[in-house]
């Protein structure tokens, strides 16, 4: 049980780090978006694990809300990417460079 607890937290930290560094690395809009999803889901895993380890219910509630927030985020993000594709014929982040100093 203790092993599972620590393992889960380490896993969640690793997933979060992959998302955080991937975000800086990826140039494709879908890739960037997936990295954000990874980060959110790492948090969800950590909340569930902690909630079970401490025998407190809040973590499960937070988990459910993270899933729904991630779903809403996916809706907005994909709609935005379709809009970008319609206007630019690409969803490469480097192609969006009109706004700068």
């Amino acid at each position: 049980m203790e092993l599972l607890f620590q393992g889960n937290l380490v896993l969640s930290a690793i997933i979060f780090a992959i998302g955080a560094f991937g975000f800086l690395w990826k140039r494709n809009a879908i890739g960037i978006f997936l990295c954000i999803e990874l980060m959110l889901n790492a948090c969800a895993l950590a909340f569930l694990t902690l909630s079970q380890a401490m025998g407190r219910p809040e973590g499960v509630a937070v988990f459910i809300f993270i899933i729904s927030v991630a779903a809403a985020e996916a809706g907005i993000g994909l709609a935005l990417f379709i809009k970008i594709f319609n206007e630019k014929e690409t969803i490469d982040a480097d192609s969006l460079s009109m706004l700068r100093d």
Partner: protein, 491 residues
């Protein structure tokens, strides 16, 4: 406070959130009217929105918080105190102001009106609840609701690549920041075992962290640091401010105004609640203090340097917002060195919420009224005083107030912020902020000089002023003087 107990929703709690309920219901009404009305019926949408916001404001002032030290609602998830009360009035008034100035802008830019007004109202709802949130999940959900509304509003313009690009940048960076905030919350939850701020405060004050990760205080410190990063993005504090100028420049001007004022006012209020938790923890590592100190200094430097060379008015306002975010954090540093200044710092921040909101929204209101001319180069403002004395005067007043010229809210606000730093003995910081604010006069007055001293372009015509815009701008100008002369009206 027993979070696990089941409480029936009672009238006391409902009365405290009544303005938010009014906002939500009127947003749904606007949505339905937009859905079932033919083209002509659309002109009624701004009126409905104004009605909803006005009613919420009236309900808020008449039924809300009653001057007690604080009131708790919904099992401790929401907390209403003086700061929340004033922040909510500011949020509703700012939204009302932006709704008044935007109808003509929306028609000119062909922005879908139904969606615009609905999202504005939901954003206002999210800001209201965010400023009152007293629990980690409530805070996160409302921050996300607010951000989602703003992402869509930023990219709402059809076929405008600048708007789309701004929405993309805002969406990706905003979500990235939210993930950091959430991970910070995970660590705080793991260390303390609670999500209610009241409970966390008690646990931190007792000195023994009860959570599964409570054995190592590094987790708690890391959690607070990550939350600071997450809020740093939302508050456009340097070095997390890079996206702000691009987003403001690309977003429709009234939306940029909402991002710059309303969402910042709500985020500052929410951050203050988190800050109170940090203060409650006796063993807060000194690193957090130095990190915040660095963030404040960097924000003031980067904000002023960025604005110094800026030819675009919206980008200039974005950079000026970065430095103002830095000023907001000065009393927090003072409290970290001398905790007995808490009350004074809270008053100073609350007053500056109002001052910052009024002057910034007034500048964005003028830019919105000017339409396509007002949102690009500062050169377009040349000779504005000849073409429209009212607009020029309102803009000049907003900019002078941001500089901190006496008898404006900006002066009183900055004076109070710096006074807290002086009381805490932070003389270098106070002097630095004072000098930076003197230096900022250069780029603010540059615009004023252009408006009053230069000739307008040859082909320029006088600018007509709509009734609703004139009303809103007049109200803004009155507020700038009124709250400076009678600060006692606020706090």
């Amino acid at each position: 406070m027993e979070p696990n107990s089941i409480t029936l929703i009672n009238s006391h709690d409902l009365a405290l959130v009544a303005p938010a309920i009014v906002l939500g219901v009127s947003a749904l009404i606007v949505l339905l009217v937009d859905l079932f009305s033919m083209k002509l019926g659309r002109s009624v949408l701004p009126l409905l929105t104004l009605g909803g916001l006005g009613l919420a404001l009236i309900v808020h002032v008449t039924t809300g918080y009653r001057g007690a030290e604080f009131e708790i609602a919904f099992d401790g998830c929401l907390r209403f105190d003086r700061m929340t009360y004033i922040a909510q009035i500011v949020i509703l008034s700012l939204t009302l102001f932006l709704t008044l100035v935007s109808p003509l802008y929306l028609i000119r830019r062909r922005i879908p009106r139904g969606e615009y007004y609905v999202l504005i109202m939901f954003a206002a709802l999210a800001m209201m609840v965010l400023s009152a949130s007293n629990e980690l999940l409530t805070l996160f959900i409302n921050l996300e609701l607010l951000s989602f509304c703003l992402y869509i509003l930023t990219g709402i313009e059809q076929g405008n690549l600048r708007s789309t690009e701004a929405a993309f940048k805002y969406f990706t960076i905003g979500s990235y920041a939210a993930a950091f905030l959430l991970f910070g919350m995970t660590m705080v939850y793991g260390a303390t075992g609670a999500t209610h701020f009241d409970e966390i405060r008690v646990i931190l004050a007792s000195g023994s962290l009860g959570g599964a990760l409570g054995g190592n205080s590094l987790f708690l410190a890391g959690g607070f640091a990550l939350m600071l990063v997450g809020f740093g993005f939302k508050l456009t504090l340097a070095p997390f401010h890079m996206y702000a100028p691009d987003v403001y420049a690309g977003a429709p001007t009234p939306v940029a105004g909402l991002i710059a004022t309303g969402s910042k006012v709500a985020a500052v209020t929410a951050f203050f609640a988190i800050f109170e938790l940090m203060i409650a923890w006796g063993d807060l590592p000194a690193g957090v203090y130095y990190a915040l100190y660095g963030v404040v200094v960097l924000s003031i430097i980067f904000g002023n340097l960025g604005a110094l060379v800026q030819p675009n008015i919206k980008r200039l306002l974005a950079y000026s917002g970065v430095s103002h975010s830095g000023y907001f954090m000065i009393p927090l540093l003072a409290v970290m060195t001398s905790p007995e200044l808490m009350d004074k710092a809270e008053l100073a921040v609350t007053y500056y919420l109002l001052a910052y909101g009024v002057m910034t929204v007034l500048a964005f209101g003028v830019a919105t009224t000017l339409g396509p001319e007002g949102e690009r180069d500062i050169d377009r403002y040349a000779g504005l005083a000849r073409r429209s004395p009212v607009l020029a005067a309102a803009m000049a007043l907003a900019l002078l107030s941001m500089t901190g010229v006496p008898i404006t809210v900006g002066f009183v606000g900055k004076f109070r912020l710096f006074a807290v730093a002086v009381d805490a003995g932070l003389y270098p910081l106070a002097i630095f902020a004072l000098l930076a604010s003197v230096a900022s006069a250069y780029y603010y007055l540059r615009v004023v000089v252009k408006m009053y001293m230069e000739e307008p372009p040859a082909e320029a015509e006088p600018i007509p002023l709509e009734g609703s815009n004139a009303l809103a701008l007049l109200a803004g100008v009155v507020c700038i003087f009124l709250f400076a002369v009678l600060p006692a009206l606020v706090v």
